[in-house]
């Protein structure tokens, strides 16, 4: 299904790797920080799913909007969420993007179009349609992306949203990251039909299943969906096949993931695969990539130090941001 119209050249692949390396390093650091006790937080690892948002972040503009979910830090970092504001929010400090009021499940950064992070499965989709409606009203060519998992493909909100996007011809792109597990339950056990992308046909929109771990295929499919949306041709459902290396949330017993399946997926880790390809195809040298990765680690070091040195909010903050007008003391 992927179109030959959009081909990932070496510049695309290098930028996708730069983003994917950041995502991978940030996830590894987050798990380490939780284990160290430096930050206590609810954390949903996205390790293994880095290529999808790295491609999205490369293709999208800052003014294109994103509505993502609790497993969504990769989506946000791919789109340029600044590390200091991210880590300070994870740490619950006043310098966090949401002043410590949102936390890991409600990260928000409108300057990069990161408008909503929801902790409710499937609820990114209906809101993305409203941002797309605003694009139509503005007579602009922004696109509105919502991401969700295979589990969310079975909740009503997503279906209501796909139908509305179709009948209103909205520039909404529905990105389903199918990591084969809905919380603890396998995809095939709870998802009728076995192919989420085919559901798009019922709503009268293109549906594409793509290997979300393949940067070139992902680039081609996502670019085509964006081009359609920008041209006013309506929504697309992309089902991006991937795999989640760890449990639903950090700390859960992931014994429900068959060990052989997990080992095979980790052996096919898409981030080092892309790295190897960049070197093999002479797009970058080992030294260049090592320097890039060292720089990413240094940026995360800086962000984490900034976060941990930042002040905690005062209880009085509870009176603010409930409404525009403060609640009386």
């Amino acid at each position: 299904m992927a179109s030959a119209q959009f081909v990932a050249d070496s510049e695309v692949l290098l930028d996708v790797y730069r983003r994917a390396a950041l995502l991978k390093a940030n996830d590894e650091r987050a798990r380490k920080v939780i284990l160290s006790g430096q930050i206590a937080m609810v954390y949903y690892s996205y390790r293994g799913q880095e290529i999808i948002p790295s491609v999205m972040g490369h293709v999208l503009r800052d003014d294109d909007t994103l509505c993502t979910i609790y497993r969504g830090i990769h989506d946000m970092l791919g789109k340029g969420f600044p590390l200091r504001e991210l880590w300070a929010e994870l740490a619950g400090r006043t310098t966090g993007s949401c002043k410590g009021k949102g936390g890991p499940m409600h990260l928000t950064y409108p300057a990069k179009g990161i408008m909503v992070t929801t902790g409710i499965v499937g609820s990114s989709a209906p809101i993305a349609n409203g941002l797309a409606w605003a694009t139509q009203l503005d007579k602009a060519d922004r696109v509105s992306v919502c991401t969700f998992g295979d589990g969310a493909s079975n909740i009503g909100a997503v279906h209501e949203a796909m139908n509305l996007a179709s009948v209103w011809k909205l520039p909404t792109i529905f990105v389903c990251q199918n990591n084969l597990f809905a919380e603890h339950t396998t995809f095939e056990k709870m998802t009728g039909g076995g192919d989420i992308s085919k559901r798009a046909e019922g709503y009268g929109m293109p549906g594409v299943r793509v290997d979300g771990n393949d940067p070139a295929a992902m680039y081609s499919a996502f670019s085509e969906a964006v081009a359609r949306a920008r041209a006013g041709e309506g929504p697309t459902l992309l089902e991006c096949m991937t795999f989640r290396f760890f449990g639903h949330n950090f700390g859960d017993d992931d014994s429900y993931i068959p060990p052989a399946q997990k080992a095979a997926a980790m052996a096919a880790d898409p981030v080092p695969q892309l790295r190897a390809r960049l070197i093999a195809d002479r797009i970058a040298t080992e030294e260049e990539l090592a320097a890039m990765e060292a720089d990413i680690e240094a940026q995360i070091d800086d962000a984490l130090a900034f976060a941990l040195a930042s002040p905690w909010p005062e209880p009085d903050a509870l009176r603010f941001d409930v409404f525009e007008q403060e609640i009386a003391a």
Binding site: S123, P126, I127, G130, L137, L164
Partner: protein, 337 residues
């Protein structure tokens, strides 16, 4: 006033007409005001009560959109458009249908400003109709305002006069935060005012109205029960009991100052709402009055509300379900003893 003069001064303006004018004026004045809901554009008849009739013709299909019967999609689209700077008015046809969209309303519309640390806001109005009287039974006429009043981040408003309906809807649309605007369907068509308000008229949110002044008993109420309470107050006056009727207008956040001042004055308070009495808004108001005025009350605060059962169909049952002017009068007399 003579009988002849009273005839000349008969009111003609309905709450329905006032809401409709508020809608038209808001859309005419601000291109950022947009609206969506089931059947509300002109090809679909301009809404089941014709409130939105003429809007799509006047302001275009982009700004005025009929939707599929998809309440989550409706609320999500309103929220998303508001995040991009628009001021959507979303109609959820009947209040019971908000249950289908509760996630969008309470988890998202009410919370996004706070959860984003004030980076985003959701300046939407949710218009919804309800109220018993048409024999529509258990799923089409509930008053569920307590659920929303209990959710931080959303304001809850309802009117019992055309002037207030106009002024509150305009203020709700102007407001930077989400507002649930509850409309009482059975009193839509009652002529209650002399003329339509002009486009500058506003009623501030959070401010109650003392609709009838009195000194013996305070009634705190809203919506259709304000109409019933005004009738009961007039009858009580004939019996020599002076009743003050306060229409909250904004149920959340409610006007404590006005209520407490009146309660301190009369020392006797009756709270009336159509919603089920148990765990209702009246419990919160009674509790605050007790906390603030314990020693000054002459009688315990009394509440009247709907019966603890689903709204029934059969006419005698439906009539028995909610308070009415007669029952309110009896409660007044009991309090004033």
């Amino acid at each position: 006033m003579t009988a002849a003069a009273a005839k000349v001064a008969k009111p003609t303006v309905t709450i329905l007409a006032a809401i409709s004018k508020a809608y038209h004026d808001a859309m005419a004045e601000d291109p950022k005001v947009i609206t969506l809901g089931e059947d509300l554009a002109d090809p679909e008849g301009g809404g089941i009560a014709k409130i939105t009739k003429g809007l799509s013709t006047a302001f275009g299909d982009d700004r005025v959109r009929s939707t599929p019967i998809s309440e989550q999609a409706i609320m999500g689209a309103a929220i998303g458009a508001s995040l991009a700077g628009y001021k959507p008015v979303a109609e959820i046809m009947l209040m019971n249908f908000t249950t289908v969209a509760m996630d969008m309303i309470t988890n998202h519309a009410a919370k996004l400003r706070f959860m984003s640390g004030g980076q985003t806001s959701v300046p939407i109005v949710i218009r919804t109709m309800t109220g018993l009287g048409f024999g529509s039974g258990g799923q089409h006429c509930d008053y569920l305002e307590a659920w929303f009043a209990h959710t931080a981040g959303i304001k809850v408003v309802t009117a019992s006069t055309p002037e207030d309906a106009y002024g509150l809807l305009r203020s709700a649309i102007d407001d930077p935060d989400p507002v649930l605007f509850i409309e009482n369907l059975p009193t839509y068509f009652a002529p209650l005012a002399m003329e339509l308000p002009d486009s500058s008229h506003r009623v501030p949110l959070g401010k109650a109205a003392v609709q009838v002044e009195g000194s013996d008993v305070t009634i705190v109420t809203y919506g259709r029960m304000a109409l019933e309470s005004r009738q009961a107050a007039a009858k009580a006056a004939e019996q020599g009991v002076s009743v003050e009727v306060i229409d909250l207008r904004t149920i959340a956040p409610w006007d404590k100052d006005t209520v407490l001042a009146s309660a301190a004055k009369t020392g006797r308070v009756l709270i009336v709402h159509e919603a089920v009495k148990q765990h209702g808004v009246g419990a919160e108001i009674a509790s605050v009055i007790n906390e603030e005025l314990f020693g000054q009350l002459k009688r315990p605060v009394k509440r009247l509300g709907g019966t603890y059962c689903p709204v029934p169909y059969s006419k005698p049952l439906e009539s028995a379900f909610a308070p009415n002017a007669e029952g309110i009068l009896a409660a007044i007399v009991d309090l004033a003893r």
